[in-house]
């Protein structure tokens, strides 16, 4: 029996903060799931528009472009915080993680405020008409993800601040950045759909 071949893996590291980790793949799948959901909604938005004579439906304001576009720029910038935190997590640098997470939270918070202001300025809601239903669904679902992710970034920040940043928590900081990139990336087609599509779709009349 002693001649059975063996491979000793005790020398391998007990964790790896990169795309080699199963958790990274789990987060990627989560992004696929949510991304698919949003793309189906975007497809359904245009499908619905094709079946209507006038778009946006009479009475709905055309979207404001300035505030959402500024917010988009800030949102993309907020990825820098996530990237900083995630690289710091790989190197186990506590100040880097704290700085990155804080920067991310600050920018994300500013964008959230801008979004709430913009949201309040809409002259229709989900009950008004079909465009209202879609716009509110897009903003509502995305903001739900957005706030949930901010809460978890804040929790990670607390964990790092109290010094409990073990390998698993640092892995958490890393995948947190991936979730954030997803939330930012998926916002781009949604932004184009809800803020620009009414102009293009209208122009075809």
């Amino acid at each position: 029996m002693n001649d059975v071949r063996t491979v000793d893996v005790s020398g391998l590291p007990p964790y790896d903060i990169s795309h080699q980790s199963p958790l990274w793949w789990g987060q990627l799948m989560l992004a696929f799931i949510e991304g698919t959901m949003f793309f189906i909604l975007i497809a359904a938005y245009f499908y619905t528009r094709l079946r209507m004579d006038v778009w946006p439906p009479p009475g709905d304001q055309f979207p404001h472009l300035l505030l959402p576009s500024l917010a988009l720029v800030l949102l993309i910038l907020s990825c820098a915080g996530s990237y900083w935190a995630s690289e710091a997590a790989k190197k186990n640098s506590r100040p880097g993680m704290i700085g990155g997470l804080l920067l991310n939270l600050l920018l994300a918070g500013a964008v959230l405020v801008m979004r709430i202001i913009e949201w309040h300025s809409l002259n229709f809601n989900w009950k008004t008409d079909i465009q209202g239903s879609y716009v509110w669904a897009f903003i509502g679902l995305h903001t739900f993800d957005y706030i949930a992710e901010m809460v978890f970034t804040a929790v990670l920040l607390v964990i790092v601040l109290v010094g409990r940043n073990g390998p698993k928590q640092r892995m958490g900081v890393h995948v947190d950045s991936i979730v954030w990139y997803f939330i930012v990336l998926i916002w781009i087609p949604i932004y184009v759909t809800i803020y620009w599509a009414p102009f293009f779709a209208e122009a075809q009349q």
């Binding site: 001649d3 059975v4 071949r5 199963p22 009950k127």
Partner: protein, 634 residues
């Protein structure tokens, strides 16, 4: 304590190490402990048992319907009860039996077949099971309070909309979908991560067993298909509860859009159920014909193609909605195309059986039954793919016959084969073969008695979902035969349960590998220990247990004082790093309760979603809060 594997390396302090391994992987005691299990064998078994109970529930509903239809002008069931029962039957079989059963089998088998200790995310796995269970309880709460859904299992608006189905019946249905989708998505995610990153060293992608391939493809299909049904059921629910306009024609919404989104999920759903069954068939055919699979590459490619084409078929459920002809022609072509990839697999199995030395076990009987029934169902599928024929038989019993041939033939027969094949692994005892073969013949005859006459009923014009019919239609005889057949199927089910119960107690001891099968799950004890393998196996061939003993190899050096597994690279499965798996935890259960409060309450008051989100957020923080401040760096 010595290793339970058929072959294991001898190393110093072995007994001590294995005892430590057992301590690390021990289940917690007590009720709270039971709610905290995170091992894949326990969770997989819970899925299987719960889904089997749902099969029985769906079966009883089917018997009630067949009893009502046994003779014309029958008044055994009222029209309203009949509507509730056929809807609950379809819903139960699709969402609460078929998908969770396939997921449960995968949760049990995939880590064993991949040669690792647990799924990649054990707590997510537990959470998924609780969500499924709460979804079951939620729907059946409705059933027992006279609020079972009654608008058909695909809930088309406007019938399912607020104007035509007031009350809570449709809401129960739509929210039950959310529960089961969360569960299926949890399993799909962890199965993909497990297969990609936790395969035994040496198990490169081209050495993966075909069942593992089928689950990988199925999991990707779940990931891209299930979001569609989440959208569809959310459309319905929000139109009903907060007056959005998505699919409600009374408010300017488009009911055809609902059908598109629903079937963009609904057609892949059929393959989500069917692909794991193909994996079962491959595993059974290889093990019981004692031969390597014929055309491994062709099989894998055919399954991948199945996965893709399945997303391009959905409109063939909507031929009668008046879509443009060019679209219909495209979907006819793609619907016929899937017969090619399915055909390739059938021929590969036949070739394997032909060239092998098949043992006519009960499991193989079910495979033969599968081939016969599924080919028939596939042929009627080709009929239905043709638009003029589809118009003729749309919404008749011909369609009912077709999808029962493909679903029972394509999924249930392989599943029973899989039960006979893996029962010894799961319980340590063999099932009774004689009773198994009898079980097969009773089911096979009962099945054909029930569903073959439905083809004729459909061609004669009997619409589906009618609660009764007048004598002069001439549907009496075939309907009566179908009812007799349904009771024969029930007898087959009873035989199966009897076989399970008696074999659990009195069956012959199975040993590690009663079938001399090829894949890794047979290398370890039956039933497996909660850590599966004392020493993770290495793989040097597509059929790891069929190589010379001297060619087999094992992994040493994983720590036994905590739950450790090995992460390997995606393509070639080379060892990359060690991975500390989480232990038992009550948090998945608590989180599932919090999420369920939000889901269940929201059909009565939308604010529950807010409270549910807050509760779930708190539960998730508890879940992720680091208990041991800093884990060891070694």
């Amino acid at each position: 304590m010595i290793a339970t594997q058929d072959l294991a390396p001898q190393i110093p302090n072995q007994a001590e190490e294995i005892e430590q391994l057992q301590r690390s992987w021990r289940h917690p005691r007590g009720v709270l402990g039971w709610l905290s299990y995170t091992t894949h064998q326990a969770i997989g078994m819970r899925y299987i048992v719960t889904a089997f109970i749902m099969l029985l529930a769906g079966g009883i509903e089917a018997l009630l319907m067949r009893t009502q239809l046994a003779r014309p002008d029958n008044n055994f069931l009222s029209p309203d009860k009949y509507n509730q029962i056929f809807t609950t039957h379809g819903t139960t079989m699709m969402f609460l039996f078929a998908v969770p059963m396939m997921e449960g089998m995968a949760v049990y088998l995939i880590p064993l077949m991949c040669g690792t200790r647990n799924v990649a995310f054990p707590r997510l796995n537990a959470f998924g099971y609780w969500m499924f269970l709460f979804g079951v309880l939620f729907l059946y709460w409705g059933v027992f309070t006279n609020a079972a859904p009654d608008m058909g299992w695909f809930a088309y608006p406007p019938l399912s909309g607020p104007q035509y189905t007031p009350g809570k019946r449709t809401d129960y249905w739509a929210q039950m979908i959310t529960f089961t989708e969360v569960s299926a998505l949890c399993v799909a995610t962890e199965i993909i991560a497990t297969i990609f990153k936790m395969r035994a060293p040496g198990m490169s992608l081209n050495r993966m067993p075909l069942y593992v391939w089928s689950m990988l493809i199925q999991s990707f299909m779940v990931i891209f298909a299930m979001p569609a049904v989440v959208v569809a059921s959310s459309y319905l629910l929000s139109d009903r509860t907060i007056a959005t306009h998505f699919v409600n024609p009374a408010e300017g919404g488009d009911p055809i859009l609902y059908q598109h989104v629903f079937w963009f999920f609904g057609h892949p759903e059929v393959y989500i159920i069917f692909l794991p069954a193909l994996g079962f068939v491959s595993a059974i055919v290889v093990a019981h014909s004692r031969r390597e699979i014929f055309g491994y590459t062709a099989m894998v490619l055919a399954q991948v193609a199945n996965g893709f084409i399945a997303f391009g078929l959905w409109v063939h459920h909507m031929f009668a909605t008046g879509l443009p002809q060019i679209g219909e022609a495209y979907f006819t072509a793609s619907s016929m195309m899937i017969a090619i990839t399915s055909g390739v697999q059938i021929f590969c199995w036949l070739a394997t059986l032909w060239a092998g030395k098949p043992r006519l076990t009960a499991a193989l009987h079910f495979v033969y039954g599968f081939v016969a029934i599924f080919v028939l169902g596939g042929l009627t599928g080709v009929v239905l793919a043709s638009v003029p024929l589809d118009w003729q038989v749309h919404d008749t019993y011909f369609v009912v016959a077709h999808f029962h041939y493909v679903l029972i033939g394509g999924a249930l027969f392989p599943l029973f084969g899989a039960f006979y094949h893996w029962f010894p692994k799961m319980t340590g005892r063999l099932m009774n073969e004689k009773l198994g073969k009898l079980n097969f013949w009773v089911l096979f005859i009962g099945f054909n008695l029930t569903f073959f006459p439905m083809h004729i009923l459909g061609l004669k014009g009997m619409p589906r979902r009618v609660y009764t019919y007048p004598t002069e239609m001439g549907w009496e005889q075939s309907s009566f035969i179908a009812t007799v057949g349904a009771y024969v199927i029930a007898l087959g089910g009873i035989l199966f349960i009897a076989n399970v119960l008696s074999s659990r107690r009195f069956g012959a001891m199975a040993g590690n590998n009663p079938w001399s099968a090829d894949s890794l799950e047979w290398a370890t004890a039956s039933p497996p220990k909660s850590y599966n393998f004392e020493y993770l196996p290495m793989v040097t061939s597509r059929y790891p247990l069929w190589v010379q003993r001297s060619e087999r190899a094992f992994v040493t050096g994983l720590r036994s004082d905590r739950r450790e597994a090995l992460v390997t690279t995606l393509m070639d499965a080379e060892p990359h790093h060690r991975y500390v798996l989480p232990t038992s935890s009550i948090w998945p259960f608590i989180t599932a309760v919090a999420v369920s409060i939000g889901f269940a309450g929201s059909i009565f008051n939308p604010w529950y979603l807010t409270w549910g989100s807050v509760l779930s957020g708190l539960a998730l923080i508890g879940w992720f809060w680091p208990r041991r401040p800093v884990e060891l760096e070694s």
